[in-house]
């Protein structure tokens, strides 16, 4: 009788220790992974690289936490569930912000593109008034040539813009083109001032 009692006690204790009933919050985990995946699809990694990396890191920490809990005899996935939910929410929020950011950069690119085209026209108009002083025509020819190259680059950039893949890259290209045209305009204006030509 006594032996049977102790045996039951020991068995109950062992079973209780070996089979912890807490389960991995798989649904929350899947939701977090899916949210991160869809955030990547909308280029969160391009427009918010640091935030996206931090989120990925949080996912890694969470996965680690799951395994840590699974390694224990007494498991507790409450924190994991909270973290997974937070990651899913944050990923969705970031993905939403991407659209806003994308629209901002797109608008910036559009403005810059329009600005570059206006500057190009301004440069072309200045060329007509450019001085014919020493080496004037050669310089004007060189400038015309440079403008043609920049114009071609703007056409390529417009195609990149229309593709909509990466507006950040478009902005960088437009910056280079705009700097180039501004340089030409400054050069032309300086020459005109020196030659006493009214701008």
């Amino acid at each position: 009788m006594k032996n049977r009692f102790f045996l039951v006690i020991a068995t109950v204790a062992a079973v209780a220790l070996m089979t912890s009933c807490a389960k991995v919050p798989q649904e929350a985990l899947d939701a977090a992974s899916a949210a991160l995946e869809s955030a990547k699809t909308v280029q969160t990694d391009v427009y918010f690289p640091a935030e996206f990396a931090a989120l990925n890191d949080s996912l890694n920490v969470m996965l680690q936490n799951i395994e840590t809990q699974k390694s224990k005899s007494a498991k507790d996935f409450k924190v994991v569930k909270t973290n997974a939910d937070a990651i899913a929410v944050k990923a969705a929020e970031l993905a939403g912000n991407v659209e806003v950011k994308k629209a901002e950069v797109k608008a910036e690119a559009e403005t810059m593109m329009a600005g570059a085209k206006t500057l190009l026209d301004e440069a072309k108009a200045l060329i007509l008034k450019a001085p014919k002083g020493k080496e004037g025509k050669a310089v004007v020819e060189e400038i015309k040539n440079e403008l043609t190259v920049i114009e071609t680059s703007l056409t390529d950039t417009q195609a990149l813009f229309d593709g909509g893949t990466n507006y950040v890259q478009v902005v960088d290209k437009l910056k280079a083109a705009t700097d180039g045209i501004n340089g030409i305009i400054a050069e032309l204006k300086e020459a005109m001032v020196k030659a006493g030509i009214k701008i």
Partner: protein
């Protein structure tokens, strides 16, 4: 219940609690410790490497770190699927240690590589700027083929893009751009220099013509005219000494000898003034007609027709003059030499029918020309 039974129940319970306590202690002692610290160190190292942009600067080592971390996690999951007392996390720890090591290596490598790329980009940008300025100083006014000038302009734009990458710390992209810019800018420079070197193949002729013309002036004490196309100058010598130097403009395709009518090139060779034109006899302010084509020009023209360098119906051209209405700041004539009107007045005053006119590329050697252009 009797007192004796209560005491014995209490003893049972105490013994049972003790057994449970012992079981728990034994169990906890037998369950292996999870490898969380090792895996966490690996993750943190990878995060550091990523923050330094190792994905970009040390992709291979970074990927290795990442793969080992994934293996550590997979091994951990696999061990956790086993019965708790039979788990062994040694492989997890090994993978995590390799991951951490590789991630640290990626970080170190990235710091070195990005610094090197930054330094290289900066120095290449400076070098390209100098080469670009040098091209513009030397070749800007030369009638080089359009593709050479296009190459240069394209390179200039890429150089600006590389500068933006440097500002934005995109050293890998920047180095790609500067390499491309180098291909265009250096390529244009090499082609332009080659064009000029080809032109300079006639230098010994130029030197001989110039020397003999000046010697003739010295010997006879007469006036001679020497025109240099590269610096764009027209000199008047008297008694072997330079008396005046005027700025001159030429045909728009002046780099090279005149080959046929309409090629917009200014001829090179030894000529003489055949006519002095002024008033209504010339459409320019004043003009000195020269005897182009001379015998050598005709000989060379016929040879070019014979060997197919010129079409059979090509004509040699004529009416080459030194005339006024210059000073436009461009090489605009159809092959004549144009001077400012007041300069033309002076030249017209001293020149007469028979005055030697020698037109050459330059009296300077190619090297002298390049070093004088750099100043």
């Amino acid at each position: 219940m009797k007192r004796g039974s209560l005491v014995s129940l209490l003893i049972y319970l105490i013994v049972a609690a003790f057994i449970i306590f012992l079981t728990v202690m034994l169990f906890r002692a037998l369950v292996p410790e999870p490898p969380q610290p090792e895996v966490e160190r690996a993750r943190a190292a990878i995060a550091r490497a990523r923050d330094h942009r190792s994905e970009v600067y040390s992709p291979k080592i970074y990927r290795e770190a990442q793969n080992n971390y994934d293996s550590a996690m997979a091994a951990w999951r696999s061990e956790n699927d086993r019965f708790i007392l039979f788990r062994d996390y040694e492989r997890v720890v090994t993978f995590a240690a390799i991951a951490q090591k590789r991630a640290d290596e990626a970080t170190r490598n990235t710091i070195i590589r990005s610094n090197n790329l930054k330094a290289n980009l900066g120095s290449e940008i400076n070098r390209m700027r100098e080469e670009m300025q040098s091209f513009e100083k030397i070749f800007l006014s030369m009638p080089l083929p359009k593709d050479i000038k296009n190459k240069h302009s394209r390179g200039k734009l890429l150089l600006r893009e590389a500068e933006i990458d440097l500002e934005k710390e995109n050293y890998v992209n920047g180095n790609v751009k500067i390499t491309e810019a180098n291909e265009y800018i250096s390529g244009a420079y090499v082609l332009a220099r080659k064009t000029l070197e080809d032109y300079y193949k006639h230098y010994s002729d130029w030197q001989e013509w110039a020397t003999s013309t000046i010697n003739e002036s010295r010997r006879t004490g007469s006036y001679v005219i020497l025109v240099e196309k590269i610096p764009g100058l027209c000199h008047l010598y008297h008694g072997g000494k330079k008396k005046y130097t005027f700025e001159a403009e030429f045909g728009s395709n002046w780099l090279g000898d005149k080959k046929s009518r309409g090629d917009m090139a200014t001829p090179e060779g030894k000529y003489v003034v055949t006519k002095k034109l002024s008033g209504g006899s010339t459409k320019y302010h004043k003009a000195l007609m020269i005897n182009y084509p001379n015998k050598i020009d005709i000989q060379e023209f016929n040879e070019r027709i014979r060997n197919g360098q010129l079409p059979a119906d090509a004509s040699i051209g004529d009416m080459i003059e030194i005339h006024g209405d210059g000073g436009k700041g461009a090489n605009w004539t159809q092959g004549c030499v144009a001077l400012r009107n007041d300069d033309m007045d002076l030249l017209f005053k001293y020149a007469s029918k028979g005055t030697p006119v020698t037109i050459i590329g330059s009296t300077l050697t190619l090297e002298e020309f390049f070093s004088s252009s750099q100043k």
